[in-house]
């Protein structure tokens, strides 16, 4: 780490610096590029009617003929935040917001089925191998600037998951990237609850030195851990059901069984009301978990990463489980030595519901280009490849009734691109969520000068104050959070704790 300062120390130092120095001026500095106080700003207005005119519209809808999948010179009409129509020469009231889409492409907002964005603090409750009681929703940080950066890449929804240290991890949060709202405002209320599972090297702690040895250390032990947890959950459910029956029968003075949040979540899985998102790589462990799920009466909603999914594509398709994969990552640990970039294409060809995810605050800004890799490796048609990052993850998260494609009745979540959405040369121009414009590149660019000027003015104020530490305010040390990522990327340690 010779070229980057110690990130942990830097963070501590920066924290101290921001507390002691500069009397809060530093805290008042603009924190991102388009609005200094955006994280607690009012949300963007929702125009009554919006129409995008004359664009190339990729609906990502299922069951449409190839010629209707990409509509040339078409209009998209949103009313009160909901898509009303897609067609030509759509009639709108005179006060409608009109957007000239000439030469532009429009797609649904992109959906990331595996994210850790906005999840602050530890992503793993690593003290136990089963931690179904902890919740991402409790630690959502709406000030995470990556929310804005990902909006700038066309992302509108993320499945925020715990890490993969535990065979049974914590409860997820499906969020809409409503940058500026408080944590609760990010939650997508319509989304079913879910939970993270993890198989293979991470729960068996192969690649890190754990402070204490912990069961399990083999894939066989991982299976055993999961089965034991469900057996306990069955006893728990039975005890509660017996208690409830007894109450109904009018029995008095009963002591109810103790409530257990850990087991309660597992009961919800067996009841089908909590979706399992299982970090997995190898074919053997994928088959194992499908068998376990069958034994306990549920279907795994998604196998995450699932880099050997192509080896068991038929089994995945038959089980009804979705596959949410990296497009082309491999060889960073032993269990991914057989990962191939054709994974998505082979699974898609064999009728598995496939999505591509990011698992990375950075990659989540370019999911459209991840989708393009399904075209490159295995020749998935472009329209179908786009669904890997729109409709398919929506189906996997069971939110496709509301989002994932541009169809009447769905949320007004859409992206305006400068060109073909799968082209490396295209940029996002605007990103809309619920018919509200959360990102506009033009506005962003225009605001930069104002913000730079404001920043300089604040710095000047500090200098004028005569504080000898004024130069500190000009500090250009990287954001400590990002230093972690930089160091990772330079030193070959992927975010093992967060999930890869």
């Amino acid at each position: 780490m010779s070229h980057i300062s110690n990130p942990r120390r830097t963070r501590e130092a920066m924290t101290r610096a921001s507390l002691v120095l500069l009397s809060g001026v530093l805290l008042a500095l603009p924190m991102q590029a388009f609005d200094p106080d955006a994280w607690n700003a009012e949300q963007p207005e929702q125009p009554g009617v919006i129409v995008v005119r004359g664009a190339t519209i990729w609906t990502a809808a299922d069951d449409v003929s190839p010629e209707d999948a990409v509509l040339e010179n078409a209009d998209l009409l949103i009313r009160a935040g909901v898509i009303e129509a897609i067609g030509q020469n759509l009639q709108v009231p005179s006060d409608a917001v009109e957007i000239d889409g000439t030469g532009k492409h429009v797609t649904p907002g992109l959906i990331d089925a595996h994210s850790h964005t906005a999840a602050s603090g530890g992503l793993n409750e690593g003290s136990n191998n089963v931690t179904s009681e902890v919740r991402v929703a409790d630690v959502l940080n709406p000030e995470d600037v990556n929310l804005y950066r990902q909006l700038a890449g066309g992302l509108t929804i993320a499945n925020v998951l715990h890490g993969s240290a535990n065979a049974i991890g914590g409860q997820n949060a499906v969020i809409k990237l409503r940058w500026g709202l408080e944590a609760d405002g990010l939650l997508m209320q319509e989304a079913p609850q879910g939970i993270k599972f993890a198989l293979g090297e991470n729960p068996k702690r192969s690649n890190f030195r754990a402070p204490e040895p912990r069961y399990p250390t083999t894939r066989q032990g991982v299976e055993k851990s999961i089965r034991e947890a469900f057996e306990a959950a069955i006893d728990y459910r039975d005890a509660h059901q017996a208690h409830n029956r007894a109450l109904k029968m009018g029995k008095k003075n009963l002591v109810p069984p103790q409530r257990d949040f850990q087991l309660e979540a597992l009961v919800e899985i067996m009841d089908g009301t909590r979706l399992v998102h299982a970090h997995s790589y190898r074919a053997d462990e994928i088959l194992m978990l499908m068998e376990v799920a069958e034994d306990y009466g549920f279907t795994v909603a998604t196998f995450q990463h699932v880099l050997e999914g192509y080896k068991v594509a038929d089994e995945l398709a038959a089980s009804g489980s979705g596959a949410s994969s990296f497009s082309d990552w491999w060889a960073y640990k032993y269990e991914v030595i057989d990962a191939i970039p054709h994974n998505g294409a082979i699974m898609w060809d064999r009728d598995v519901l496939v999505s591509f995810n990011s698992d990375s605050g950075e990659l989540a800004r370019r999911l459209n280009l991840e989708a393009a890799k399904a075209v490159r490796w295995g020749g998935v048609p472009e329209v179908e490849a786009l669904k890997f990052v729109t409709l398919n993850p929506a189906k996997q998260l069971q939110i496709d009734k509301w989002v994932g494609s541009l169809e009447p009745g769905k949320h007004g979540d859409f992206v305006i691109w400068s060109g073909h959405p799968l082209s490396t040369y295209s940029r996002v121009e605007q990103t809309w969520v619920d018919g509200r414009k959360y990102f506009d590149r033009q506005t962003d660019l225009e605001a930069r000068e104002t913000i730079a000027a404001e920043r300089q003015a604040l710095l000047q104020e500090v200098r004028d104050s005569g504080d000898e530490r004024a130069e500190d305010a000009e500090d250009t040390e990287p954001d400590p959070e990002d230093v972690d990522r930089i160091v990772d990327s330079y030193h070959g340690h992927p975010h093992q704790e967060s999930g890869r």
Partner: protein, 452 residues
């Protein structure tokens, strides 16, 4: 024979100029060049190996204009003619590339390829040696010619990689490697390409005293190391010192014979590192850096320091920076007049996806870098910066026949790389780990349709 005479003249003069440059690691080649001066083109062609004629492609030379329906003649691993309307010599093997595009292989200018297989499996990594000064360690001797990663990288059109280690402050000498060959010796294009120095982290505002202390201590140690090497040189000349390989390793660097490959990332570190090299008189250098290069662009241009820029596909390092900061850094450098190449990082983690190199450049093009500069930044520019432009980097007479055929713009992900040649040898793109797995499981018998 109908070889273009002017092309051959060009070839001759090119080869002559080559003999005076880096001839040491290609003695056979210099002999060949001498022969060419003596012999007429006719006999020359007759006495050398068979000619392969690639015809019909749009040839993207990178060094000059694109050539529609072009012909490229290859002999003995080298390009002997490039142009439109060149007749195919009798007996040449003709490769019809009509409708296709021919590009020079991409050059990855910072890489751990061949030195790592699986980052998380320690036994597969030969990336960092122990100790502060590893000047006597050379990267290429552990370059695994049969690494599974190499064919996958070539399948993306990336055909050359500059590899370096990362242990200590002076991490060792680096090498430019072909990704196809029989062993590290015949895969080496250039060694030592440079001496890698990972500049110590630099204390900045907000660091506590402990950090500041360790940072200045590290720089003092580096000063001391250079001072010791200077003393060693004097003592050696005076014959008053025993051979010390680690000190010995530093001498070519101090004498400017081997360029300094300076790795420094954030603004404060880059500035301190540049001040330091100026102070030490180390002016034969290349800066390997990241997005903060934008803040020192003018200085890099003024001091004519070439840059290998990594981390285009990264997050901005500071919350207040524009969301596209890493994407626009290449165009900032370009506009300032800095010579630069675009690369992935030299990390073990980056090695597995080296094939995505062109898309780093494409991202820069999406955010303002002219497309032709983006292409150049992963072909000819890195070859120039790494001192191997006489071998690779463009499709020109005299260079190695190291190129690929695509069905379109290779900076677009949807484009396919269809065929690859390294030093005149075609590489079988199906003979690789990932394709074998694809082929096996794509042909797995499908389950019988279940009856209703």
């Amino acid at each position: 024979m109908n070889l273009d005479k002017t092309k051959l003249m060009h070839l001759r003069s090119h080869l002559v100029s080559k003999t005076s440059h880096r001839s040491s690691h290609k003695p056979v080649f210099s002999t060949l060049a001498m022969l060419m001066i003596l012999l007429s083109p006719w006999t020359l062609v007759a006495q050398d190996g068979p000619i392969v004629a690639l015809v019909g492609a749009t040839v993207h030379t990178v060094s000059g204009d694109d050539i529609g329906n072009g012909t490229v003649l290859v002999q003995d691993g080298r390009i002997i003619a490039v142009g439109a309307g060149i007749e195919t010599p009798d007996g040449a093997e003709v490769v019809d590339l009509s409708g296709k595009h021919l590009y020079p292989g991409f050059v990855l200018s910072a890489s751990a390829l061949g030195l790592t297989e699986i980052g998380a499996v320690r036994a597969t990594n030969d990336l960092g040696e122990i100790g502060d000064n590893n000047a006597d360690v050379r990267a290429e001797v552990a370059f695994n010619a049969d690494s599974l990663l190499l064919p996958e990288t070539m399948a993306g059109g990336v055909l050359t990689a500059h590899v370096s280690m990362n242990g200590g402050t002076i991490t060792g000498t680096t090498a430019v490697m072909r990704l196809h060959g029989w062993n590290w010796q015949d895969m080496t294009i250039s060694t030592p390409a440079g001496m890698r120095l990972d500049f110590p982290s630099v204390s900045t505002a907000g660091d506590d005293e402990e950090d500041a202390e360790s940072s200045s201590e590290a720089i003092e140690q580096l000063d001391e190391l250079i001072e010791n090497a200077e003393h060693y040189a004097k003592a050696k000349a005076a014959g008053t010192v025993d051979h010390d390989p680690k000190m010995e390793g530093l001498l070519p660097l101090l004498e400017g014979e081997v360029p300094l490959y300076l790795f420094a990332y954030n603004k404060a570190q880059i500035e301190k590192a540049l001040d330091w090299t100026a102070e030490k008189g180390l002016d034969n250098l290349v800066l390997f850096t990241g997005q903060d290069a934008r803040y020192v662009a003018e200085r890099l241009a003024t001091e004519n320091i070439p840059v290998v820029l990594t981390g285009i596909l990264s997050l901005p390092w500071r919350a207040w920076e524009g969301y596209d900061t890493p994407f626009t850094t290449p165009s900032v450098l370009h506009e300032a007049g800095v010579r630069f190449a675009i690369s992935d990082s030299a990390s073990s983690f980056g090695a597995m996806n080296s094939r995505n190199l062109p898309f780093h450049a494409a991202q820069a093009a999406a955010f303002g870098l002219p497309k032709e500069i983006a292409l150049r930044s992963v072909t000819l520019s890195p070859a120039e910066i790494l001192g191997v432009a006489d071998h690779i980097g463009s499709i020109d007479v005299g260079k190695e026949a190291t190129f690929f055929v695509s069905n379109g713009d290779p900076l677009e992900i949807r484009t396919s790389i269809e065929r690859v040649w390294v030093q005149g040898q075609e590489v079988d793109l199906k003979n690789r780990h990932q394709y074998r797995l694809y082929d096996k499981y794509n042909n797995r018998p499908r389950p019988a349709a279940t009856s209703e």
